[in-house]
Amino acid sequence: MNVREKKVRFIAPDTLIGKRIQKMDAPEKASGKTRYIHDIDLPGQLYGKILRSTRVHALIKSIDTSAAKALPGVHAVITAADIVNQRPIGVAKDHLPLKTDKVRSLRDEVAAVAAESEQIAMEALQLIKVEYEDLPILTDPAEAIKPGAVLVHPEPHRPDGEEHLKPVGPVAFTGKSDNIAMRFDYCHGDVVKAEADSDVVVEDTFKLHYVTHCCLGVSGMIAEFDASGHLLMYSNTQVPFLHKREFAEYLNMDPGQIRIIQPAIGGGFGSKLDIYPFEVICVFLARAAKRPVKLVFTREEEFISSPTRQPVLLTLRSGCKKDGSLTFRQVHTLHDNGAYTSWGATTPFVMMQTFSSLYRVPNCDYHTIAVYTNNPYAGSFRGYGNLQATFAVEAHMDKMAEAIGMNPLDFRLKNAQDEGEISGQGMDFKSCRFKECLTIAAERSDFRRKHADNIKNRKAPGPIKRGIGIASMLHVGGGAKIYPSDGCGTILKLDDFAQVTLITGASEIGQGSETVLSQLVCEELGLPMSALTVVNNDTAITPWDVGVHASRTTFIAGNSALGAARLAKVKILSAAAKKFECPAGDLDLRGGCVIKAESGEVLTDLPRLMRNMHFQDKAELVMTTFYYEPPSSHQDKDYKGNVSAAYAWGTQVVEIELDTETGIVKMTKVTAAHDVGRVLNRLGIEGQVEGGVVMGQGYALTESLIVEDGVTRNPNFRDYKLVTAPEIPEMDIAFIESMDGEGPQGAKGVGEAPAICVAAATANAIYNATGVRICGLPFTPERVYRALHGKGEKLFLERPGNSA
């Protein structure tokens, strides 16, 4: 022992929380070394391609695959007739991966090929001859509920024309006598009485359009069976454990025989939450060819056959008193379900929360009908119906404020929810600094002054008008109890060098989950980020997690990781307490060492302690597990209940310049104030908010998937306008730390929040600039110009009740 070692060392307290932590996977990604699904090739791999319908709605009279099968290099050609017992997929189990006797939309899968190269597979597709007999098409959702409408699913789907598959699905699989895919009806209070008591009542119909995820990495997967018949899928899914179970059901396999590995994912945003036909077809091809099959979309295919955000036609009727208190809201929506049911149809779960609970509404009545059409079908997409609902709610907040002569900020503050309130729908707002979001966003953007000035300047000379608009949002921030469990598991192990492996069920889709989870563990164990390795992408290794959705990962997987780290810490400190003969409570972990909690004096470094624990008679390793299930509850049959353990709040103020001669709207600035519980990784959370704001900007101004007569007219980036770098607004972002009692280190979920109210605030900014209210999206120059010149579209929703 030398003199240096005897020197007493102290470590001052430090924290990782709130710091700018670099994303752990960023160096690999910035070097082009990260392997996405597109970059992985297996030995002996074949390439799969899908033949899609060329008709919007038609009977399949015959399919001739003989020429394709005869092409050299083709290993398998399959149609529905080749698959025994094909089972329906999707939220309503109304969708057979390979279509049997009928196609119901242009994207429908008719046949598929596995070949030695992509070129051969494409060539083979062209050799498949399909005979169709066109059926009348149904592409207007308003027509779908009228008597005598074309029916999309009038009879049971047959797997192959034989009788041996009995219809088992609950909805359309058994056939339907109407086009109604789903209905949602919610109510609290008495809206009829409330309307009679209102001083002001307003009503408008809003039309929310098709947009799509546009993940830069196109969809794809690789399926492979091993010699025992076990299935391995390299998949981009956001919900690996749900998929494992569902694939087992669809393929009639034991779930134990299915393993899912997720390579790095090139963007998710909700698009990878359902099982799609291409995934099942890829497995069918691998089974038929007895070789690994890789199936990757083209960009055009991605636009045509990926799910969209849910398009909605919505009528909102709202009322308030002269003093500014809200009295009621009544909502009717018509969801265009498309030909099959995915998560889009279930967006009312989220929409009704915004109508019932963003502001204090004593009476609320909400009705959705989702109808089948021959259009593309909608899935889940960041915000999940909330962009649509918020667009309508916030338009009416401005409209009613103006009607009673109240400033729009004051009107919102009067009705904003407070901490400790339980909403009419049963949501328990344990941490809520909504009013601070409102005041801070307004102050930082100078909202009051600019709002008043812009109104004065509406009639001023010159074509350029300035506008400022405010909108807010409420979203789940502590998971969402939709599935039987909303939990996540963690396995944590420390090796002899105090290197930690964090094995988590939570998937990384680019949002930064592995970094924030590591940060929580390192904070607890007093280790640097470099001490962490994360394993998070293999169902054979990682414990169960419900998946990346509902802005839940930081909160749920964070609490799970934290739980495992706390158990490890207890174990480590009790071993240290024994060694140093002091109470464990006097010790702590900091800077990779065991220290005296009070003074920070170093007792030993952690690697040495780990080896002490390991290499002794009563040898032990530090390995812990933790499963976190949030203290939320399932909604009852009336959709009431505290579905999330915490709720996220936010206010955004959008500033625009509008050219009245061209209709061009330029978004100049977005001021955002979000109640995020607590900032964990400042770099990461800024990235989430900035990315969300710009996604919201695209929804508001430029993006539109144009679907005419069931045909997607702009399946490419040239005509589907994503926002590009020169168009982004200045962004001023404030984080309000409400320190949620249940959240990990006080944090709440934030993934979806920033995209939600941009379009709503932009609509209010356009009104502020011009005095014209536009109720349809996006605000393209043409739509704005027409509206300013009295040629705006007339929107009308016939209430289903009236037509029956």
Partner: protein, 162 residues
């Protein structure tokens, strides 16, 4: 069977040969014939910039260039940049400034940024935004990418091309 051509070119500083079908894109040659997967397919029609590479010092979309047209040219891909110490500052800036989320657009962005800084060493934010206009990103909202490129630019007083 499509007609094939033998071509010779420089890739990331190393002379090499390849045999490519006449209708193959430079992107597919890089990914499938040569096996360098850092250059990404995003759209195949020059709209997204995920496949940005440098050809004779100019940045372009590899999906729009025929592989046979690489004959006699000098190509640099993200793998070439990754081996280039001078590009360290740029990559480090992307990491440090949070310019990477899903990362799929990132190699193309880094390539375009490297070209931009080679031609405009002290580019301001507006120039940078124009410079990466042809590169789409769905995750970040671009701000942190612009910040990263600006930092890498001003961090190099000589403005030497990476």
């Amino acid at each position: 069977m499509s007609l094939k051509h033998d071509i010779e070119f420089t890739l990331n500083g190393v002379k090499r040969r390849a045999t490519v079908p006449v209708d193959m894109s430079a992107l597919n040659m890089l990914r499938e014939v040569i096996g360098l997967t850092g250059t990404k397919y995003g759209c195949g029609e020059g709209e997204c910039g995920a496949c940005t590479i440098l050809v004779d010092g100019l940045s372009l979309n590899a999906c729009l260039m025929f592989a046979v047209d690489c004959q006699g040219r000098e190509l640099v891909t993200i793998e070439g940049l990754a081996a280039d110490a001078k590009a360290d500052a740029l990559r480090a800036a992307f990491v440090e400034h949070g310019a990477v989320q899903c990362g799929y657009c990132t190699p193309g962005m880094v390539m375009q940024a490297s070209h931009l800084l080679a031609t405009h060493p002290h580019a301001d934010a507006e120039t940078i935004k124009r410079g990466i206009e042809g590169n789409l990103c769905r995750c970040t909202g671009y701000k942190k990418i612009v910040d990263a490129i600006a930092a890498a630019g001003s961090a190099d007083p000589q403005g030497a091309a990476p």
